[in-house]
Symmetry: C2
Subunit: 349 residues, 2 copies
């Protein structure tokens, strides 16, 4: 099992300047790469404290690639619905080059109604735009002289530049939080899946479906599952919880606020979101008890991770949010170092 770090800014100008947030994150990426974390990942969001400092994951990864030597640079995720496929393909080519072939591309459908509204996109076109976008980008990377007549974007005889550094292209991932359909889609296409904390039985079903579909599609191996969660590691449980807790609360408050439009809107492409948000209790106490949120001592985290692995059926890579909300960067770095020293070695294959 591998461990990487994920930057998910949930701060706005009232908390921390973007220069401070990104400066700290680039320093953390440099440290992480040196002490054994195997990837650096970031998100695409807009116009809200929830992720809004990271409007283009490729922009950050271009920078992070200069501060790291070995770690893979992972988008988690690019949102085709808000981007032109010709732009995405061109930027992927640049970052794959500037990272010397270390780029991996996660794609997602997006899920925040306010982002759709501001870009003038319909929630009901979410799946169609995702499917068309990722397929057009795949073809632009793998093929030359590409012609595509899409519902949303069309182009003729295009050879996207730069050609990818990796052959035939950087590995693709599909990020999904609530849709069996997305796990099936990813498996059929031969892409990895990125998921987040959900009830373990549900996650196990999704991963089972993913691996069964993967094999049925005739791909080699069993695919790849990446799991993202918050991590905070300290010498005592009391210290870990006391230091992480207010910033976890800040993060979930921010997510809830960004998602609250679902109390007022519905969409055929997001059948479960209104009820998911309405019943979201943001109970940090029970989250801290669960095996899906990794806050504790090194020993506790080893146990949590082992139990979580057993309960969901095996994940290949964990993507750790280490500097959530306004957690002081010195604490984030100390936590990241302690985890690298005492937890990661237990899970090396």
């Amino acid at each position: 099992m591998e461990f990487g770090i994920q930057f998910f800014p949930d701060v706005g100008p009232e908390h921390k300047s973007a220069a401070d947030y990104w400066g700290e994150s680039l320093n953390l990426a440099e440290v992480a790469d040196a002490i054994g974390y195997t990837h650096v990942r970031t998100v695409e969001h807009y116009f809200h404290v929830y992720g809004g400092y990271s409007t283009n994951p490729l922009t950050f990864l271009a920078a992070a690639a200069q501060r790291t030597k070995r770690a893979r640079m992972v988008t988690g995720a690019i949102l085709p619905i808000f981007n032109h496929p010709l732009k995405i393909a061109g930027e992927i080519g640049m970052v794959d080059a500037m990272s010397n072939g270390r780029l991996e591309c996660g794609f997602a459908r997006a899920f925040l109604p306010h982002e759709f509204a501001t870009f003038g996109r319909s929630l009901d076109e979410s799946r169609a735009r995702f499917n068309e976008g990722i397929e057009q980008v795949r073809r632009l990377l793998e093929e030359t002289d590409v012609t595509s007549e899409g519902q949303f974007h069309s182009f003729k005889n295009v050879t996207s530049l730069p050609r990818p550094t990796q052959t035939p292209r950087p590995p693709f991932w599909v990020a999904t939080s609530s849709s069996t359909e997305s796990f099936v889609y990813a498996a059929e296409k031969g892409y990895g899946v990125m998921t987040i904390p959900r009830p373990p039985a549900t996650v196990r079903d999704w991963i089972d479906t993913y691996r069964t579909t993967w094999k049925a599609a005739g791909h080699e191996g069993q695919g790849k599952v990446m799991f993202a969660t918050h991590m905070y590691c300290a010498p005592s449980r009391q210290q870990a919880i006391a230091e992480a807790r207010p910033h976890l609360e800040g993060y979930f408050r921010c997510l809830h606020d960004a998602s609250s439009d679902w109390l007022r809107v519905t969409s055929k492409d997001y059948p479960d979101h209104p009820s998911m948000i309405a019943t979201d209790r943001r109970d940090v106490d029970s989250m801290l008890e669960s095996d899906a949120l990794w806050v504790g001592t090194p020993d506790e985290l080893c146990e949590k991770i082992e139990r979580y692995q057993k309960s969901v059926g095996g994940i290949d890579s964990a993507s750790l949010q280490v500097n959530f909300h306004t957690l002081p960067v010195k604490l984030a770095e100390a936590s990241m170092r302690l985890f690298a020293e005492q937890v990661i070695p237990k899970f090396r294959s």
Copy 2:
């Protein structure tokens, strides 16, 4: 007078991989910053050896910012016609943060018909899309809660994130090669201008118009003029010409090929382009004689630059293409170092 370097890839997979091109360029940027060049700049182009490795200047500058400490990071230029203003503003916010406030944003109308055709944009909308785009981006950076009803893009109550690191925003420039109107526009708005080698009398007229308009608009100072050209500096004239010449020829052949659609198309927004391309003789010999192309010994370049300065009326900053076409990077670096040692000090104010 200041000197920076500009990366204008005019190579394709048949010449050099993008990993090699960008790897070499990032190394050159690091050296340039350390030896006194004051900016690093790159272009936005697509689908052709002429610039096509650089589909998003902000992506490169995010990386270059990590390899430099003092140099300004300059887009030369962003093309609003191929980009959503909400995306441009968000990425500017990220790169201004990741460079700790060292970003400067040049914008241009684009001029290659094949790029317009592939993106499905009309050449006749060039000026309208440019004007709307740069103005929407300016407002998104300077203001919060922005509403704009445009001909091409509209949005409501948007606060773009991240907010810029510089106040009120990174300096803006307008890149233009052939249009008096653009010099007037830039001066009225208080933006710098970026220009390229043209007949000196014409450039002098443009700069005069720019400065007169600048003062009439009530701005302080006299604005800023940035001039981009090729530079190759070697201990002897013979060596300089022998080493640079085939790569200059390669560059101009590539530009001519990328522009050749103008032999078949016309547009009200580009009245002079068809005749400009039709009469373009790409006479590298006479270019090498002119004061606008800087190939020679340090002494010769000092003289050329002084004469060029006198003939056009004073430029504030020169942006030097140092690694054009397939010029070996060791030669590019040696030339850049010699120029920094023996030419730049003569022009320090």
